[in-house]
Subunit: 346 residues, 2 copies
């Protein structure tokens, strides 16, 4: 992050040598100085970060803050990084947890390998959002991939990830990656028709800069940019709340994507994070994904055809969460959701 | 609950017509009167219930309290029922959420049908703990079952469930149920050898009255009480924390149960609740189960042989969560857990 950028975006970064900043940075022992705390900290427990929102009323998930590492305001959102007591470093955008070091593997691996292991030899992949780089790290495991385009709207997220989450941002180091800082909606409109094998939409809340990424025209652009039998994966809400919203999403996808349309889900303890889709909500420790394919060669998402080679582990470490069994299991839904979703999807 | 019991256990039950009690019962509008709030409420957000414990340091899950419905102290634990803003009524024992109306289906259905659908024609079933009656409700769906014994240590839990959670406590109405209020450890020691087809251990934390239910001698009693090829299901922790503890549990079970030994998991948003097993912990929106069988006819837990007849829905309402697919999917583990557990279990 250069100084100009910091100035332009009202960047406030606590420095160890600065007494005032140190007060904000050691909240556990210095609770009295409330003015130094980010607003979301003071709303619940002194010295704790609480994720509360009118979008998930009546509930809060709190993590103990050991130290605030970064606090800034980009052109698009508030950006905070703190050291938590038990989840490692945590990235927060506009008050919503996006990533913790402890459980980021589940989300990054599933949103990436559910689509990429469902088609043979993916070559050209587009990631919309995903500025932390974790999805890139996972896409890079696929030896068949020749080009990875990423369009992220907020450069501060990329910079902060490179500085504080090197094991996540390692994804940017792959030579196949082309990073574009810009609007994902515009990027897709300009993309050549039928040019991608897979599109992964890794966005934050629909009320922030990612709003348009949850609207029907965007999904139409995705479908247009995919080759026949190409696949998209986007997060899609928690089954535990708002089955009505998921129902609508599935209906919309069924209209737009003429191949297969499936809902999958997995466990991510600290969700809400990358919480997603119209009206959004907390995720209750689970996150859902919409997996769709365009008309063309059949894609049977439930039975992966493209296993990840173990040799992929050499550069980016071993897979921690994903395997072929948990891929298939992700499509098994609770009874209350199964009937609704399957009736809309097929 | 009779007056004598209430007196013996320092029972405090807010009554609408009592001004003082009403202050405690409407915390949202009457935050000033802190002395009327249960201790766990005041620890975090005024008017909110927060589940915090040294057992899961650095983290809290909070629900907004609309009204305290019951507050008592049994011979064994503190018992609270409150109306939450978004999860319906909530039962709390010793500060830990045991049950919410919104998501109780997932836990009750999975802990019951994972074992009972894995053996043909279960006839005699023992439930240890489970005083809310939800597991009984689920066992009762199985037409083959002739006798359901339950041993619950705390009568107040049974009474409170009957009063505030009628859709859960409906399980007690089944004529096959024999309820014994007493110590589950002693009950099992006195049980006839080889007498049960299935034992379900639905207990609260191991630091409360349920402590012994998480120790090796108890598991040995369970094995002794089961017929050859009989099955046990007990909650077993979250994979997201303390894989080391789960590893030990699996090793112990492998020693004691000479049939199959498996770990399964599922999503329950408000867990920790019925949080379980040595040293316990929060569950991060998931709960695990140990499923073991004694020497005898093979039990393949991953492939259920005893589907639940849809006619079971007539009396107790339709299944909300469980189905055969989600049964099998529960045994698919993330890579970080799979190797460890499978190496110990087989």
């Amino acid at each position: 992050m250069d100084a100009k950028e910091a100035s332009a975006t009202d960047l406030k970064r606590p420095r160890e040598e600065d007494d005032n900043a140190a007060a904000a940075a050691s909240m556990e022992t210095e609770n009295g100085d409330q003015t130094k705390e980010p607003a979301c900290f003071s709303s619940v427990i002194p010295g704790w970060f609480s994720e509360m929102s009118p979008m998930w009323p009546g509930e809060a998930h709190s993590l103990k803050v050991e130290k605030v590492l970064f606090q800034g305001k980009s052109d698009y959102q508030d950006v905070i990084v703190f050291q938590s007591a038990t989840y490692g470093k945590v990235l927060v955008l506009d008050g919503v947890i996006q990533l913790t070091e402890r459980d980021e593997c589940a989300y990054q691996e599933m949103i990436t390998h559910l689509p990429l292991c469902s088609i043979p030899n993916p070559k050209k992949v587009l990631v919309i959002g995903g500025g932390d780089g974790g999805v890139l790290r996972e896409v890079a495991r696929h030896a068949s991939v020749e080009q990875i385009d990423m369009c992220e709207i907020d450069k501060m997220v990329v910079d902060v990830s490179k500085q504080f989450f090197p094991n996540v941002a390692i994804g940017f180091e792959d030579p196949r990656v082309n990073l574009v800082i810009g609007d994902g909606v515009a990027f897709l409109k300009n993309a050549a028709e039928g040019s991608y094998d897979a599109v992964i939409v890794d966005s934050s809340d629909p009320i922030g800069p990612a709003k348009e990424l949850f609207e029907k025209p965007f999904f139409q652009s995705v479908a247009r940019a995919l080759r026949p039998g190409g696949v998209v994966c986007t997060q899609a809400e928690s089954l535990w709340l708002h089955m009505d919203i998921i129902e609508d999403i599935v209906s919309n996808c069924r209209e737009i994507f003429k191949g297969s349309v499936n809902y999958a889900w997995t466990s991510v303890p600290t969700y809400p994070r990358h919480v997603s889709l119209p009206l959004n909500i907390q995720s209750h420790g689970v996150i859902g994904f919409m997996l769709c394919s365009t008309e063309g060669p059949d894609v049977d998402f439930k039975n992966p055809v493209n296993p990840i080679d173990d040799s992929s582990s050499k550069s980016n470490g071993p897979l921690k969460f994903y395997n072929a069994e948990i891929h298939s299991a992700a499509f098994c839904l609770p009874s209350f959701a199964k009937k609704v979703i399957e009736s809309k999807a097929n």
